[in-house]
């Protein structure tokens, strides 16, 4: 009786209100703390920390433009700017709040190929140094640029991957054991890409502001992508059971592989685009050939799981686009709006997607008898890593 009445009492308030009470209380407590200026806490301990990070450098004829972000806990005021030990008139002075950004525009007769050292002098006399290794004009982002990047994406993404998928007839004839080895090869390819994506993402994260999370963004992106794909996976499985359609896991897996590779290629595009934007990309046949060879093997990875299925040509093209087109998208983002924090997160997303795909593929490589990895499978994994490593040598952005 007692317990029963207590339940009824509790039931007087709706559940959502019970959930909201602590939230309201913490909001009130924090508001009071702010309004009373943190009673008993006193001033900050020590001198303000000035941490400005140069996020983006744009070189136009006769002009240097820096986008800086305040990466520290205290506001920073930019008072003066010097280029190669020369004070210069500039625009964009003033206070930059925590995590805020500011664009500093300096008219300066920079010379192509030469190095520049810029320091921002803050109101407290602190200096934030920024080096430009070799000055080159930042390409304008216009229609022809978008066209160029689209073409590049098709050359190094869509075409090679689609061609790689033409291994499908070959894959169909190699038999069960052969498919296992090809799946292992795919896992090897993807494993290499996972490590590569992680290292790249980490490097980019470290080069940018740390205030938004830095390296953690790569892990957050990976977790988000992995969990999202796991969720999608279980949702699709659920639907499949309801529809009582079996045996479609191959084409479904192919889709997952294509998505994973697509997200990885988004990162590849980002790297291409940002390198192009900083004027450091050799847009030559060499780059295209390297990337094309590198990415052709990705086509094989997509078709390996669908070896035993009838697949329409349109579907293959669709898979090729999913895997390859993100190169173009990445290149657009990388060149037009490079942001280290965003890019690090996207690399994380690519990483998470690839890991999820590897997890999906893993059972398919194992022996049906005892679940072990046969020597052929292990060799396949190693061959995949080797292929990626070798073709990767052809492209270093």
């Amino acid at each position: 009786m007692e317990a029963g009445s207590a339940t009824v009492d509790r039931g007087k308030l709706p559940v959502w209100a019970l959930g909201l009470i602590p939230v309201v209380l913490i909001a009130l407590a924090l508001a009071a703390l702010v309004l009373l200026d943190g009673p008993g806490l006193g001033e900050r301990n020590g001198v303000p920390l000035e941490e400005l990070v140069v996020e983006q450098t744009t070189l136009n004829p006769g002009e240097i433009e820096l986008t800086v972000r305040n990466d520290g806990p205290d506001p920073v005021e930019i008072a003066q700017v010097s280029v190669n030990d020369s004070y210069v008139p500039f625009e964009g002075a003033g206070e930059v709040g925590r995590l805020g950004a500011q664009t500093v525009t300096v008219p300066y007769p920079w010379i192509e190929g030469e190095a520049y050292e810029i320091f921002l002098l803050t109101a407290t006399g602190g200096t934030i140094l920024h080096e430009i290794g070799a000055a080159a004009e930042t390409p304008g982002v216009d229609l022809s640029f978008f066209g160029l990047m689209a073409l590049l994406g098709i050359y190094v993404g869509v075409i090679p991957i689609t061609i790689g998928m033409l291994w499908l007839p070959f894959v169909r004839r190699v038999g069960q054991g052969g498919i296992r080895i090809l799946i292992a090869l795919t896992v090897g390819l993807l494993g290499f890409l996972a490590v590569d994506t992680f290292l790249e993402g980490r490097e980019i994260a470290l080069s940018g502001p740390q205030g938004f999370g830095g390296e953690a963004l790569v892990f957050i992106g990976a977790a988000v992508a992995y969990l999202a794909l796991v969720g999608v996976d279980s949702y699709l499985r659920g639907r499949r059971k309801k529809a009582e359609v079996g045996g479609a896991s191959g084409s479904y897996l192919a889709l997952l592989v294509a998505i994973g590779i697509g997200l990885h290629n988004l990162g590849e595009g980002l790297a291409i685009g940002s390198a192009y934007a900083s004027g450091a990309l050799a847009l030559g046949a060499f780059l295209v050939v390297g990337f094309a060879l590198h990415n052709t093997t990705e086509g094989l990875a997509i078709v390996a799981p669908i070896a035993d299925q009838e697949v329409k040509l349109g579907r293959l093209v669709g898979l090729g686009l999913i895997a390859g087109a993100p190169v173009t998208l990445g290149a657009w983002i990388g060149a037009a709006a490079f942001n280290a924090s965003l890019v690090a997160f996207l690399f994380g997303v690519g990483l998470g997607a690839i890991i999820q795909v590897i997890v999906q593929l893993w059972p398919m490589m194992r022996s049906r008898l005892d679940g072990s990895l046969s020597p052929g499978v292990v060799a396949g994994i190693l061959a995949g890593v080797g292929i990626m490593y070798t073709t990767g040598l052809l492209v270093s952005i």
């Binding site: 000035e50 004829p61 004070y87 008139p89 407290t124 006399g125 200096t127 140094l129 390409p139 050799a282």
Partner: protein, 376 residues
């Protein structure tokens, strides 16, 4: 503060471009340091009072420079180094203005001693004070009488000098004069402590007393260790001993070449004459054509071994240390190590704007640049 350099994407790039992209018309880029400074000067002082006229006097070329550069819109050209457009430093808050400081000679107070000798006295107080050395840039300085450089103490050879020094700073300091005096009066920590000299601790006072000798252009500075800090922080000033017979009448000014290590990395960020970078570029020193100009020049820059003074379109007689009435050289440039000093005498034969600057051009473009504006 964070001093790290964060490489942007271009730094990560391991390969330089193989295909030259859109060719850069380097020819269209203007030279950094044009030979026609007056165009920029008028822009620079556009918001400042009075001095903007006189543009018709100088040599050609100004019009060509404004069209040469490309890009960047209105601000896309650079005639010479300068701070950003905008407000000057707050001279009132600093408590001194380099334009006034230039011709500000502190003669102290005098009375005749029983023996007939003149006693000249000053009160000097050392204190800690934040000053603005470039627009918007504050520096925690140590000062004599609230200014950097300290007051220009001026006297005549043979006089008895008494400098009543009080240390109101949080740190021990001294006053060490370049000149002839006894060991107790040397302002050297550890020397003459028994007699009250040596290190002068916070809250303490000491009277430095000696005869003005020899005549010349001298200086004083704090001699407390760590010496580089005590000098770099601003504890120095000019000390002029005139010869008994005096010098020919002239438009006299004192220039203390100094610099500030605002980020404490043992290298200077702002260079100047009389503390505020580019002050005389933005506020040219007005002088009269053909009138004798006498400059008392001393180098007090810390962390850099040499400094120099160069004036455009003119030559001067240089009196090394000012201890002889015969010039040692007729030149347009003089190089000084720290505490080296001299007297420059020149006349400007034509009107117009004439730059003067350190011919250590790095210093020039970090603030040590000014203009004479010669008028009739």
């Amino acid at each position: 503060m964070s001093n790290q350099s964060n490489p942007d994407t271009s730094k990560r790039v391991s390969r330089r471009r193989l295909l030259a992209g859109g060719a850069l018309a380097t020819a269209s880029l203007p030279l950094l340091h044009q030979g026609v400074p007056h165009k920029g000067i008028h822009e620079a002082i556009a918001g400042a009072p009075a001095n903007a006229q006189g543009g018709g006097h100088h040599s050609a070329g100004a019009q060509g420079t404004t069209t040469a550069p490309t890009g960047g819109g209105d601000g896309g050209h650079l005639l010479h180094a300068d701070f950003r457009a905008g407000p000057e430093v707050d001279h009132a808050a600093n408590g001194f203005n380099p334009t006034e400081m230039l011709r500000d000679f502190d003669y102290g107070t005098t009375r005749r001693l029983p023996g007939g000798q003149i006693l000249r006295e000053w009160d000097i107080v050392a204190s800690d004070k934040e000053i603005e050395v470039a627009p918007g840039v504050k520096y925690a300085a140590w000062t004599y009488n609230g200014r950097v450089p300290g007051p220009t103490l001026r006297c005549t050879e043979g006089e008895r000098l008494r400098i009543r020094f009080t240390n109101a700073s949080d740190h021990p300091h001294t006053m060490h004069f370049h000149g002839l005096h006894s060991a107790v009066m040397d302002g050297m920590p550890g020397v003459g402590e028994q007699q009250g000299g040596g290190q002068i601790l916070p809250g303490e006072s000491f009277d430095y007393e000696f005869d003005a000798d020899p005549f010349g252009m001298h200086l004083y500075h704090c001699h407390t260790s760590p010496l580089p800090i005590h000098i770099a922080k601003g504890l120095y000033g000019a000390f002029i001993v005139d010869p008994k017979a005096g010098r020919p009448p002239a438009d006299e000014m004192v220039m203390v070449m100094n610099a500030f290590d605002t980020n404490f990395d043992k290298g200077n960020e702002v260079y100047a004459v009389n503390t505020v970078g580019f002050h005389y570029q933005r506020n040219p020193i007005r002088v009269t054509r053909d009138e004798l100009v006498r400059i008392f020049l001393v180098n007090m820059v810390e962390y850099d071994p040499l400094n120099s003074f160069h004036v455009h379109a003119n030559f001067f007689n240089y009196f090394q240390t000012g201890t002889s009435l015969q010039p040692v050289e007729f030149t347009d440039i003089v190089i000084q190590g720290q505490a080296q000093r001299g007297i420059l005498e020149m006349r400007f034969p034509s009107t117009g704007l004439f730059m003067f600057h350190a011919h250590v051009t790095e210093f020039a473009e970090l603030g040590w640049t000014g203009f004479f504006e010669v008028v009739d």
